[in-house]
């Protein structure tokens, strides 16, 4: 069975769980695959480390925990420090490149792609949508879920009235991801 394991890491308030939830929702509800989500919170409402583990597969998933992700999405330096060494060799790292410096802790063959997601979110009007920019970046770089499915998942997951900005955030991240991929090839 072909299963892709994803971990999303960051700080409370960055929308880490929502990012994982949207990826899983897009894959399972709108792309017809199977997905699981495990979430871990710190004790504080803001600023504590948190992470989401998402598995996506064509068949039912028997074990939802992710130890060595194929794809790691990180939004804070602490999450990078903690989770980067666990990426599978040859896996993909997607990181917020104005908050995180990539160093030599990455396993062999890991491809790293950065995006200034916080700045892009601020330019769109709201720092809050940083996680949606990252979700778009993930979609653009990995192609694991279709952009149409993720757009639908974004639209149906965010509060009513905020869909427009969230969709623009998604597209900004998606286009950035596509460009980064072209430059890297």
């Amino acid at each position: 069975m072909d299963k892709t394991e994803i971990r999303v890491g960051g700080l409370g308030g960055q929308g880490v769980i929502l990012c994982g939830m949207i990826i899983g929702k897009a894959a399972s509800i709108f792309d017809g695959k199977h997905a699981t989500l495990i979430q871990a919170f710190g004790p504080e409402a803001r600023g504590s480390a948190c992470s989401a583990q998402v598995s996506v597969a064509d068949e039912a998933i028997g074990y939802p925990y992710v130890k060595n992700p194929d794809v790691l999405i990180v939004m804070s330096p602490d999450a990078y420090t903690q989770f980067a060494p666990q990426i599978k060799p040859g896996g993909v790292l997607l990181y917020e490149n104005e908050l995180i410096k990539v160093d030599d802790r990455l396993p062999a063959g890991v491809k790293a792609f950065g995006i200034p997601a916080t700045r892009l979110a601020e330019e769109l009007g709201r720092r809050l949508v940083l996680n949606i920019v990252m979700t778009g970046f993930f979609t653009g770089v990995t192609g694991l879920v279709s952009s149409e499915a993720v757009e639908k998942a974004v639209k149906t997951s965010v509060p009513r009235g905020t869909e427009d900005l969230n969709l623009r955030a998604f597209r900004k991240g998606y286009e950035y991801g596509r460009e980064v991929l072209v430059k890297a090839s």
Partner: protein, 198 residues
Amino acid sequence: MKFEGFPQDLTLKDGTQIVVKPLEAEDAPALLAFYRAVPEEDRLYLRDDVTKPEWLERFVARVNTGEVVSLVAEQGDAVVGEASLYRALHGWTAHVGEIRISVQPRLRRSGLGTALARDLVKVAVGLGVEKMIVQMVESQKSARRLFEKLGFRQEAVLRAHVKDIHGIKRDLLIASNDVSHLWEAMEALVSDFSPTVG
């Protein structure tokens, strides 16, 4: 700037077909023609002399910087209505947007003003605006009803603040719509916190 859902086809109550879309440079001459055709009495409600090409030049420049978002309603090649959102890009009122709407007299009470206002409110929320305001003269009763339906409530009255075409001083009403709760909901959604999950 691109916005979700535009251009938008609209059928008014009388069957008139309208297209609503964000203003583009090529729409500028039609916009000027629209404002030049607005009756003088109605133009008194506007803050700028919208009949001058210099105004148009400044307006388009502000649209390009993002300081103004303008939606135009077009019937064929003619502009028949316009809605603008004015916002400060910096400073202590950067979260506030001011809405101004003008509709061709023959299309008033056709639903066009309501459609433009609704679209602009949606665009404003999408831009992260937390509070919207609109200024109206006390006599603009239909405009007051329109904005009340969209959630605006009277916040201030400036007594005898404006003079109409006959020199009569009238009260200026400021109505507002605080939409920050939408973003509070988003903030709660991204809080990554659950008191029951450790």
